[in-house]
């Protein structure tokens, strides 16, 4: 009960943190050219979401969100694997992992 109130008092703080995390990830996605870094930035965004969800679940005091977080972690893992494999394939085709290299398809 006590704990819940603390959370309630500082809920905004958690939200801001996760928003900040999310934005950092997004900005990273926008600015970086290295695909691996991009991948990590996206992971970062997902983790921001996780944090947010956990915060809310504690705030509402029901476990659903935390289960959801597990889902997200699993999916994130799957995505990471797929992403890395795609990355490797792309590297095979054009000896580079710089996204600037991929602009044959345009117009």
């Amino acid at each position: 009960m006590e704990q819940l109130n603390n959370i309630g008092a500082s809920l905004d703080f958690y939200i801001f943190v996760s928003i900040a995390l999310f934005s950092i990830g997004a900005i990273g996605v926008l600015t970086r050219k290295n695909m691996i870094v991009l991948l990590m930035c996206i992971e970062l965004m997902l983790n921001a979401v996780n944090l947010l969800l956990v915060t809310f679940s504690t705030f509402f005091g029901n476990g659903e969100a935390q289960i959801f977080v597990f889902f997200i972690i699993v999916v994130a893992a799957a995505e990471a694997t797929i992403g890395l494999s795609i990355l490797i394939m792309a590297y095979r085709n054009s000896k580079s992992i710089d996204i600037e290299m991929f602009n044959k398809l345009n117009g």
């Binding site: 965004m45 999916v75 799957a78 990355l87 085709n93 044959k104």
Partner: protein, 450 residues
Amino acid sequence: MDALIIIFVTGLIGLFVGMLKNSRLTLAVISVGLIAGFVSMYHINDYQSMFQSYQGLQFSRTQHMFALLAIALTLVSVLLGYTYFKEDEEHTSDYYGLMLFSLTGALCLIGFSNLFMFFLGLEILSIPIYVLVGIQKGNALASEASVKYFFTGSFATAIMLFGIALVYGSTGSFEMNEIQMAIDMGIMKSPMLNIGVLMMMAAFLFKVGAVPFHFWGPDVYQGSSNAVMAYMASVVKLAALFAFVHFFNFTFHSVTPFVSGIILFAIVVSLFLGYLSALKQTSFRRMMAYSSIANTGFALFAVLNQQYGEASLWIFMIGYACSTIALITINMIVEKETDDIANWKGIGYSNPFIGITLVISLLSMSGIPPFTGFFGKYLLLSSAFSNYLPVVILAIIASLIGAYLYIRLMVLSLSKDGEGHKLSINPTQTIVLTLSLVGILGGWLVLLIK
């Protein structure tokens, strides 16, 4: 629910059967599985299923219709892909497996009743597609396409999740009806909810490929193979659009009026950008990608239509998907080393069956009666007519440009120069063309069923 499992298991079996390197057998197994799934989905309410207790998936009447359509379209895409897949001896079954897994995702996305199922469906739908797009290992374009699709896609996923989190934060539940109740209680003005909804909408717009989240479309469609593109253009778009409409017609229906401005903007820009950019394309698949952006613009009218939205969307999608599949099949038949539109010159004149098919599908695309494409557009526009007249008029003008696009293709492919230039059509392709013709000609008759 049974259908889901049948399809998923069929996918697994398919993977194993694939080891026998017998493409016919694999196709047979997959098709049987899909048909079985279709049947069980058709009779979903007629028998007591052992998974009845599970509440995560519930198929109302419209959801039921959409699920059936999704399975049918997958079957068609599988048949369409057959000739292409079997060339790749090693991984023939991978295509089928991935498609079927993605179909399970699509079914979840259609039948979901809480955000868990929704999110899982979305991911199960998307991840196999990332693979399918890039499955041609040696192909640089394919890998580029899949890279672009993967990164934009996962970025959109992140946004979607953030939106979900915010919605959960403001409503305190993952159950659709509870969320709806909570919103209707009167928190529809709360910033957190609205921003969450807007973020989810952004992700949706990405999935359905509408402006300004459409960029992946042309590149991915061009980079991927015909079969995969057909699947994406039909099933993926269908599932995503349905989820979009479902959210904004039921769960968020009290927020929808507030965000309608954005949707109208997306509609108009998608329509014009899609058709105008398509005018100047030389690659067929790229042109189809742009036209699919424009068609998405039409489909988005369903989001604004609380009453008939889903029904109209169904009719529209059956018309759009069938014509797209037919055209892609024809493109497969005519495609030489590139998918240049010039290959189409005169094919329709010398091959009557192809000619009739492409004429009908193109006319249906350009919204000329009595084809399903027309009725779809008609339903969407007529319901939007009273509230959003200016947008409807803009849409009409855009569809005129679209008609110009399609008629130009029709004229090209019907030109007499193709005299005597015969094409060989495989039986599966014939089946696909016939099925899609049935869809185009007869799809709208569903209107008459009470």
